[in-house]
Structure formats: C-alpha cells, structure tokens
C-alpha cells in the first residue's frame, strides 16, 4: 500500500515486538559466551584500601577477575561530550581506582561461564573500604564545610553558568509585585523497560571488536569507545539491536560498555553483561534534581516584567556525557516560555554529590524550565488575584512565522501560542468547570484545574550553534536511500530508535515521496557497519533532523530516476512529471515508466544518460540552521480526596503543535507516554537518598512508576504550524507530553487547595503532603452528613 504523510499507519515494528521475535542484547548468544558481573560499592564515599579477588577466581567456572589496576592501560577516563565554559573535568574512571563516590560505583568485575556463577563470585570479592563523609544534596554540597568529591572542583562545583537577557533593573523599577518561591524539581529514575546490557565479541584475527549495546547512540558510542580505550574506531562495530526504551538514559558512554569491550578483548572470548533492575537504579543515570530559587516580577494588571532564578543542579558523583547541557542550555535558555518577558536571568550551579550521575531524562531541562515558568506564572496570577488563563493570554507572544527572539538569546522558529490555548479551552469548557468547582466545594469535594502553556526546543541540532554552546560533536544527521534493482528500497538512517516507531514513520515518508508500497521499504538503523554515520535518537530530533536527511536523499534519488526516465523516453527532464509512482511525459499519459522499471534500468545500465554513474541511491547529511520549537497547551483536572489527601487525575487535555504530523497515531502514543511520565513526576515518582547516600527507593517496590490504572483517558488535539527549518516542516514530538504535564497537574492541585491559602506544593504531590495542608487548615476529614 502506498501511504501518505499524515496517515495513521500501523507500526511496522510491533508484530515482531509483541510476539517475542525482537532481538534485544540479552538475546544475543555467541559460542563460548562468558558472563560478566560487577562488584559495586556499597558505600557512597570511601577510600578503597584493598581489593582481593582470589576467592572469586578460585570458584569453579570463574574465568577471570579484574580491577582497575589490571586494565589501567586500556581504560581511559569517561569523556564529557558537552562542556560549558569553566566546566571542571575530574577523571571518571570506568572502574574506581582508589576512591568510590556513589553507591553503585564499579570496583571490580568477575567473568564466568554462566551468569549465576559470575554473580556468586562477585560476592566473593573482598574490598576493604575506609568510609569518607558523604553529601547527597546539591545545596549542602556547596557549603564550605561539605565533604569534597574531587580535588579539581572546589565546593563541589562542576560548572557555573549564567544567562541574563534584558534589563532587570529597569523591569524591577516598574514592578508592583514580586513573588519568590523555592521550587524543588525532584530526582527521577528513568526506568526504561529494558535495562542496559552489552555483549562484546573480539576477533583476534581481524582485530575487530563488535559491541551490542542497548544504546541510543551507536555511532557516538563507537567514537567515544575508541577515544577511551585506544582501540581504532575503524575496528569497532557497535550494534544497537532492539532497544527497549531509554528516555535519555542510554544516551551516554557508560563504564560497562568500555569494561565489557576491553575484557572481551583481553580474554579473546565473547562477554555479556546484563544490568539488573536494582543495578539499573544505581548505575544508570538519573534525571532532574534541581533546587531552584525563583522570582517573578510584574504589574497588578497582569503584565509579567521579569523572571529569574538560581539553580543548584545535582549532577551526581561524576559528569555524565551530556550532564552540563541539561540544566544550562536546555533549561536556562528556555525560561521565556510562551511569554513576552522583558528581563530573564538564570544562574546555574552544577554540583557534584555522592549520588548516581544525573543527565538527560525525557524532556531534559525543558520539563524543569516549563515547570518553573508555569508554576511562577500561576503564583503571580494568584498573588494579583487574576485568572491564570487571563494572565497567560495577556503576556503571550503573538503568532509568528519568521522567527521570534526572546531575551535569553534564542530564536523560536514559528509559533501560534494562542492557537493551542484556544483549542485546549474549546475542548475543556473552562467556564463550566469553574461553576462545577464552586458547586463541588459546597458539597465538600475539591476539584482543581491546572494549565501548562509550553514551548520547547527540539530537533538537535544545528551543529555550529550547538558547538558555540558547548557541544563536542556535530549533531547533524545522515541518511542513505538505496533503491534495489527490483525496485524495493532500503532506508539507512543514523538515528537509532528505541520505541519511537521510526521503521514506520521513515518508511511512510519514503512511500509517500516515491509512490511505492510501504511493504517494499525497509528502514535499517542501529549498526555502525551498515549506516554511514549518525548522531542517534534523543531530544526529539529524529524526524526533524533524520527525517530531513531522508527527504534530501529521496529528492536526489527521484531527480536521478527522472533523468533516466526522460532519457529513455526521449524527452527532456522538464517534460517528465512524477505521478503516483510513475514517470509520465507531460500531455502524453500513455508514455510513462514505473519507478521499479527505472530502478532496473539504473542497475542494468545499458542505456543511461551520457556520463551518468550506474545505480540508484543517495546519501545526505542534513544539518539544520536552527532548532525547532514545538509548543502547546495542556490542561489537567484533579479531584482531591479530603479524607486521605489522595489526588486523582480525572481529566487530561493536551493540545500540541509539533508542526507537520507524519503519523498521528504514533504522535498520540508519544504524547500518551510522555504525559504519563510527566504526571508520574507530578504525583508519584521520586528518588530518595538517605543522608549516608543509600538509595532508599532502590527498587520498584519503593519507586512509583506511573501505571495506566491511575490515569484517565487522555483527550488530545493539535494545531499545525510547520517549521521552516527542515524539508518536512515537522518539529519533533518525543517529549512534549513530559514537558507539559508536570506543571499542569501541580497547578491543578494548588488550584484545588487555593481556598485554604495554598500557593505551592513541591513534587511529587503525595497524599500525605496534601493531607498535612488540609489538616493545618482544619479541613481534613470533615464530618460526613
């Protein structure tokens, strides 16, 4: 079937995934495979005084055990890929050398014939520690007497970053209202359904090392692996097979990828490491974790004049690959939101603590920014006793199609913010709700509504802009379209999907453009030996940048095919039209050649235009001029149980504008999952450390992942404001739900409680927090009639 852009084509990848026919890393089984288990630090901060692996090595079935000292010449420091000015770069050894800095820091590895033996043997490794003082909070870590993690980073400051746009002093002189609020954006655990895993296979003959890894970035991983280990990039092949979710947590080079690769090389046998769930909670990056002091200033008529904040961003014990990017560029530059705010300021401290490293988690900086902006706008509206929607509307940037620069210096591409607000309000019936809310309150029922009007940054990235902001690598994307002699097509993309459905949406774009059956198109990804190069999949970039590269390749293929068609039909190129998959001579419909026919001619090469090379394929590298800026308006309605304080989300409306939509069904799936995660942060999820650095929420028994049972059916809508930054006019849609949801839900909770004087509740809005607020106001557990 030939499909069009905008069709809800069913996901091509789903049948194999839901029938158990996918191949994940743990499904890779090679002859002679060994299993690796990692000895991890039980302490958050300690000196290693002795490691003794002898008992482990003596266990039958154990092949070898290694410490940092054994592999020193092959284990470089794990690199940081995005460096803001002044970033401190202490060593990040894949295996701890003399100090451990968080619970879960890798100390030694054991390799055995089977997994159970490896796990048993790891328990037999003796490590003597001398405990050091621990600090887990970002503010505490900046105090002068706090324990120091790295000699290179005084006061534990990894980086300081600042943006100031507009004239704050002038804005402050005009201001009639100042509202300040401390806001905590709590630490989250990404919880991909598949934990990480690596299989490494070294061929001593060819010196080729193959790594299967559950990663979002096969090519960057190959490049970084080579840099860390010294193994030539040309002799490393990275394969990202099926990847069962990531949410940003597989966007880095990890110690285990390096260690497993090097151990396989050392032993000359294939080695597998599969992360356990509790191990994942300790050893895979976390997200968010900001302590923010914010201030919004404005006039009593509802005009917002300025917004500024100081952020203490917890980066954990080491800088993960993109850690400096998230609380700076992706956060501070986003603080204008949808509004005409005259002055904006942000000062960010990235702070080392004795916790798991923090890096991107779905939304990555923009959920934190949106939460801050939308919470502060609500606080401002509440302070001046104005309607939160009216205040938003009053300050909203008007529609624009040729860029809009905000005080933080970034240029939004296209936008129509009142459009998404109006559409969401149409779906909602705001006036009716307020009436219902008043009536409900008289019956002792607490209802609340919250709004979140967001703009985010997608489509990473224009390489030169990104480089000027600290990126250590180009962020363009590449694509090859290869038409086979019989007319079927393979699309090679450098993006690396892990649940997004690229095999469907990329095939859909190719089917629409080439006019051929989607079943004749195969999309290949995730293998450095198949794809030329690629940046990977993250930051809602794949359709905007990878899809852009695909469009360019399709156009090149079509141009060449058209030339061949014109030549063989004896007319000039300009006389040939491409209609429904056929090359047709203008005004003579009976003279036409099909796409497959041309493919055959391109390879047969018996009669090509003079000088034309045989074959029919094209490769493109697309580097956009700007990011893309999706936006929207989400509305949450909650009901609070006065007896227990429990918050129930009863309605959720999301109107997003992601530019042109490739596949509405996949888009809806993206928004559903994203919103569920944002709602999860608002109401349930939180990673908790004890003061001595133990992760108390160490498993799903204690860390509340959102589930469908606690969510209403989402009501989704769209407006379409195409971007001009890529050939598809699509902006990217992977993160809008997560970015929009948290403030909508928290604003709704506060709205439900504002009659008792509540102005702010930190996430997650747990039942106990709400109960305490009700209790303090004398409103808990009222008498029943």
């Amino acid at each position: 079937m030939v499909v069009q852009i905008g069709d809800s084509v069913r996901r091509i990848e789903d049948p194999r995934l839901i029938t158990g026919n996918g191949t994940y890393v743990d499904d890779v089984v090679l002859p002679g495979l060994l299993h690796l288990s990692i000895v991890r630090s039980p302490y958050a901060h300690a000196k290693i005084t002795r490691i003794d692996v002898s008992a482990a090595v003596n266990i039958p079935g154990v092949v070898a055990a290694f410490t940092a000292a054994d592999l020193a010449d092959q284990l470089g420091s794990l690199p940081v890929g995005w460096i803001v000015e002044g970033t401190k770069l202490p060593d990040h050894p894949p295996l701890a050398i003399d100090t451990v800095r968080y619970v879960g820091d890798a100390v030694a590895v054991v390799v055995a014939d089977d997994k159970a033996i490896a796990v048993d043997a790891a328990e037999s490794v003796t490590v003597d520690y001398e405990q050091l003082p621990v600090v887990v909070g970002s503010e505490e870590a900046q105090k002068p007497d706090a324990p120091q993690l790295h000699a290179e980073a005084p006061e534990n400051i990894a980086f300081e970053w600042e943006v100031n746009g507009g004239d704050w002093e002038a804005a402050a002189r005009e201001a009639e209202v100042v509202v300040k609020q401390k806001i905590i954006n709590q630490r989250l655990i990404p919880n991909a359904m598949e934990t990480r895993g690596v299989v490494a296979d070294y061929n001593p003959g060819s010196k080729q090392l193959t790594l299967w890894s559950s990663t979002q970035i096969p090519h960057l991983l190959r490049m970084l692996f080579s840099a860390v280990t010294g193994h030539p990039e040309s002799r490393v092949r990275v394969i990202a097979p099926e990847v069962g979710g990531a949410f940003g947590s597989k966007l880095y080079i990890y110690a285990e990828e390096v260690i497993t690769g090097i151990v396989a090389k050392q032993l000359g046998r294939p080695v597998k490491w599969i992360e356990g769930r509790q191990e994942n909670y300790q050893a895979t990056t976390h997200g968010r974790d900001h302590v923010t002091y914010a201030e919004i200033i404005g006039k009593r008529d509802g005009t917002i004049l300025g917004l500024r904040c100081t952020v203490h961003a917890n980066v954990g014990a080491y800088l993960s690959t993109f850690a400096p990017l998230i609380p700076t560029i992706y956060f501070g530059l986003m603080l204008a939101g949808q509004y005409k705010i005259r002055a904006i300021g942000c000062k960010t401290f990235g702070v080392f603590t004795n916790t798991t490293p923090v890096d991107a988690y779905r939304g990555a900086g923009r959920p934190e920014a949106t939460y801050l902006v939308e919470r502060m706008v609500d606080l401002f509206a509440q302070e001046i006793k104005r309607d939160p929607v009216a205040v938003r509307r009053k300050n909203m940037i008007g529609a624009f199609r040729r860029g809009h620069e905000v005080p933080t210096g970034v240029m939004y591409d296209t936008g129509n913010y009142k459009g998404t607000l109006n559409k969401a309000l149409e779906m909602f019936d705001y006036r009716g709700f307020r009436k219902e809310q008043r009536a409900a309150r008289r019956e002792g029922r607490l209802l609340g509504v919250g709004f979140s009007c967001y703009v985010e940054i997608s489509g990473a990235a224009p390489s030169a802009v990104a480089a000027s902001l600290g990126a250590g690598a180009g962020l363009w994307e590449s694509n090859t379209v290869r038409v086979h002699p019989t007319g079927s097509v393979t699309v090679y993309t450098g993006t690396s999907p892990h649940g997004q459905g690229h095999e469907t949406s990329f095939a859909q774009i190719a089917s629409a453009e080439l006019g051929i059956d989607i079943d004749n198109i195969e999309v290949l990804h995730g293998d450095t030996d198949r794809q030329q190069f690629g940046t990977g999949t993250f930051g809602s970039r794949s359709i905007a940048v990878g899809g852009g590269a695909l469009s360019l390749s399709l156009k090149k293929v079509l141009a060449k095919a058209k030339e061949i068609a014109a030549h063989q039909m004896g007319v000039s190129d300009s006389q040939v039209d491409f209609v429904n998959g056929n090359f047709v001579v203008e005004d003579i419909p009976e003279r036409s050649m099909g796409f497959a026919e041309i493919a055959w001619e391109a390879y047969h090469a018996k009669d090509l235009p003079h000088g034309m090379e045989p074959g029919l394929e094209a490769t493109s590298f697309f580097d956009p001029a700007n990011f893309t800026w999706p936006f929207g308006c989400h509305i949450a309605v909650v009901e609070i149980n006065q007896d227990t304080g429990d918050v129930k989300l009863i309605r959720y409306i999301g109107v997003d504008d992601v530019g042109n939509i490739i596949n509405p069904m996949i888009l809806a799936g993206m928004v559903h999952g994203g919103a569920a995660q944002g709602i999860g942060q608002a109401l349930w999820e939180t990673a908790v450390y004890s003061d001595d650095g133990q992760l108390i929420t160490g498993s799903m028994l204690d860390y509340a992942v959102p589930n469908a049972k606690n969510l209403p059916s989402f009501e989704l809508g769209h407006t379409v404001t195409p971007t001009r930054e890529n050939p598809l006019g699509a902006k990217g849609a992977g993160e809008t739900g997560t970015i929009a949801a948290s403030p909508a839900v928290v604003n709704a909770c506060v709205d439900a409680l504002k009659h008792i004087g509540v102005t702010h509740i930190d996430m997650p809005v747990t039942s106990e927090k709400v109960w305490r607020l009700l209790d303090a106001a004398g409103k808990a557990r009222p008498r029943r009639k």
């Binding site: 007896d643 109401l683 106990e768 557990r781």
Partner: protein
C-alpha cells in the same frame, strides 16, 4: 537479581510434598505462587537450599461453600478467589481484597496460602483472614491441626506454622444472616501493598444494632492486627455514621508504638489512614449487612 543455588522439587501429591518437607525441614521451603518468596531469594534475603513447589497439587485449589462456611484451598489464586461466586456471596471482603492485590500478573499466580504463610506486614489477606475469623488447616505427613486466625500471626513475617507443616485449606465460618464484610485499602503507589488496609465484618441484630463486629488492620504495624477497641465501640450500638466514626478513630490503638514510619507514610499519617480505611470498610460492611 540472581538467587543462590537451590534444589527444586515439584511434587504432584500432598503426601509427597509433606514427605519432602519433613526430610529437609529448616533447609526446605514451600513455594506456592512464588510472588513473595522468589523476589526475596533474588535479593538473597532468603536462601533456602531446597524449594518444594506445591503448584502442581490440584487438590489444594478447590473453593467450596456449604451451610457451615467457606473452604478455600491454600493454592487458590487471588484471581480465582476474587472471581469465585461462592466467595463473593459468603465472604465479600475476601473477594474484594483478593481483587485489589498488586496487579494482574500477581493475582494470577499469588495464592491465599502463600500470602498468609508469608505474613507480610502490608499484605491484604491477613487482615481479611483475621476479620472473618478464619481457621488455617495445617498438615504434616502424620496429621493435621487447625489454627485460629487470632493465634496465627506471631510477628513480622512470622506465623504459628511449624517447619514441617503445610497450609492446605483456609476455612471461614458462615457469617449468618444480616452480616456484611468489606475491605478498604489505601495502596502504596509503588508496590500496591497496603499503606493502610482494614477489613471489617459486621453482624446486625433484629433491632438494627451491632451484635458482632470484627475489624483488622494491615499495613500499619509489623503484622495484621485486630482493632478490638473499634469492635467494642461498635457492639451493641446502632451503626450510625457518628458511631462508625468514633469506632474508626480507635482503629490503630492496638498498634500504638508499632506504627511503621517510612518514606511512603509517616506514622502519624498511617494512623490517620487506618482510621479512614476503617470508616470506609465498616460503613460498607454495615451496608452489606442490610443496615
């Protein structure tokens, strides 16, 4: 998440299981649905060297009721219990609690016998078992005995079961006319265990006053516990909203000094939830009793 080594047996008859347990005693452990024991083993918090899986013993799955009461085989799953017409009519609180346990996968595998033998402080069924005044039939290869609910739960994860005994059946007495039972739970958002769960059984007299009440609380302390003060307040009175409220406000009295305080709920909040859940459970039970 890999357990220590263990030997595994899957007997097909009760006698075979009892023989194995007698042979291995403290080294052996009965596994029923496995949803409590296996996670503990994977965490290496439990490392039995012998596992005796009684999942293949069909005689332990039956659910029957007659005039004398309800009998539930120890290997009946939560799902089977929640959907059983016999349970729904004879012991609505049990069906209600079983239907709220964890998630579908757990309800399809987890068993009533496993739940009671494990005595998780936040398990749902222990409270129902106490409130309904059930009896455990525990058998060895040599004989059997009955253990009343009030004597069964000893301490955190500890029951009156002896090392060689296997639970074969749980009996619930017939509650009689004008009786109603209910279970109300405030679930932990992560684990879905009870932060506070209360089961109530109420019997009304001809004059509409409470002739008997049994109320039990789970999730709040180290084991499921009867709320006897609450029961005493209810007895002999007409169960008006204010009486139920007054009785519910005493639901955690027996647990004073033993109230769990953790990241999911402070002790103070747990006590509060116990009161609210008691009120909800008792109110439903009274309604079901025709009050």
């Amino acid at each position: 998440m890999v357990s220590n080594n263990f030997e595994y047996f899957a007997p097909e008859t009760f006698d075979e299981a009892a023989r194995l347990l007698a042979k291995y005693r403290d080294d052996g452990k009965i596994v029923a649905g496995g949803y409590s024991l296996i996670p503990l083993m994977k965490l290496r918090l439990a490392s039995p060297s012998v596992l005796i899986d009684i999942g293949g013993i069909d005689e332990l799955r039956s659910i029957t009721s007659n005039g004398g009461g309800l009998s539930v085989g120890s290997m009946a799953t939560y799902y089977e219990i929640s959907r059983s017409a016999a349970v729904q009519s004879a012991a609505p609180a049990l069906a209600e609690a079983a239907g709220q346990v964890a998630d579908v996968q757990v309800r399809n595998r987890g068993t009533i016998g496993g739940s009671l033998a494990h005595s998780d402080p936040a398990g749902d069924l222990p409270a129902v078992f106490l409130a309904l005044g059930g009896t455990i039939v525990a058998k060895t290869r040599r004989g059997s005995r009955e253990i009343a609910a009030d004597r069964f739960f000893v301490d955190l994860l500890t029951t009156a079961l002896r090392p060689t005994e296997i639970i074969t059946e749980i009996r619930f007495p017939s509650a009689g006319a004008r009786s109603g039972s209910a279970y109300a739970k405030f679930a932990n958002k992560a684990s879905h265990y009870a932060v506070a769960g209360v089961a109530a059984l109420v019997t009304l007299g001809a004059d509409g006053t409470v002739t008997d009440a049994r109320v039990a609380v789970t999730g709040v302390g180290s084991k499921a516990t009867r709320a006897k003060r609450t029961e005493r307040i209810l007895k002999g009175k007409e169960p008006t909203a204010s009486v139920i409220r007054r009785a519910s406000d005493r639901a955690a009295v027996e647990l004073a000094g033993d109230v769990t305080d953790d990241i999911h709920a402070s002790a103070e909040y747990r006590e509060h939830l116990a009161k609210v859940m008691a009120e909800n459970a008792i109110t439903s039970a009274v309604e079901r009793a025709g009050g």
